[in-house]
Symmetry: C2
Subunit: 150 residues, 2 copies
DNA sequence: TCAAATTTAATTGTGTACAATTTAATTTCC
DNA sequence: GGAAATTAAATTGTACACAATTAAATTTGA
């Protein structure tokens, strides 16, 4: 591939992933709207459903987001009654994020979402797993690179 | 895979693509900063470098973005002297987007970007093409689904 | 021990994203 | 020919995303 070809929009892996990300979010939207969630908020809940509590820092590491994004988002989720934000008494720098009853209960309404989307997309499990692994590899590599250049 | 497994963050293809998209953008950032561009602005220029001119509608179709995103973005690019926005005289509803000299000249400074990133990421050409094709397929499918449900 | 360095969130400012609405121009179709 | 429907951008309002800075707590090291 020469430079001209690489420069073409059509061949930009980055563009395809960027567009994919937004189109998949759009697919989630009608389902998440019913729960009153945005996609990034749903990701926060996925973490809290697994491990009961977290901190802003940990959420940021898991989701690749910083406090500039998380703080206002978590405030909105707190206002919606899904979570509680509380300074850690052990280390006052940290803010602990916990689910409320309401936040915990939402899990049952959400369990159908991943399967619904997998079915809807018509993608086979094999294909799904293969693509997931490839994307994970790419994510890992690019993330390493970004860490290195900081 | 059962529902519990699917619900885990770690297995969310959607999350991986979402995180990938942002991490790749971060990899572009230092290169694009030198040109005074954001990643979406770079995508607009990729199109205009290929086809001289476009419209807001066409840019939206190619980039999967609507006028609510494009209008302010194109205004910023016009203010930066990269493009000109002009109502079509044939159809006054349309706004034609054209490159300025400055916008055209930026192309040479940008040609090195795709190759630099490909090299940097350590991904082989075969891998690159395979992943690109798989992502394209997924994008196509998800896009079709979104169109169907509108 | 205590000042300097580091860590953690919050804040500030800019730039996307996108749903919903509005405005103006063009098409359709009776 | 002209009202109704459609189309294309712009506007409005909300919610991320992220760089850069600030503020407060904790850790480090001479």
């Amino acid at each position: 591939m020469d430079e001209q070809t690489l420069l073409k929009l059509d061949n930009q892996l980055c563009f395809t992933i960027y567009a994919c990300s937004r189109e998949i979010s759009r697919l989630y939207r009608p389902l998440l709207d019913k729960l009153g969630l945005t996609y990034p908020q749903y990701l926060v809940l996925l973490i809290l459903w697994e491990q009961q509590e977290s901190t802003v820092k940990e959420l940021g590491e898991l989701l690749y987001l910083d406090s500039g994004t998380l703080t206002p988002m978590l405030k909105r989720m707190e206002a919606a009654g899904l979570i509680i934000r509380e300074r850690s008494s052990e280390d006052e720098r940290k803010v602990i994020i916990r689910l409320t009853e309401q936040g915990r209960d939402l899990r049952e309404k959400a369990t159908c979402i991943p399967k619904a989307l997998l079915t809807q997309s018509g993608i086979s499990r094999e294909e799904f797993i293969r693509l997931l692994n490839q994307c994970k590899q790419l994510l890992e590599r690019v993330h390493q690179l970004n860490e290195k250049f900081r």
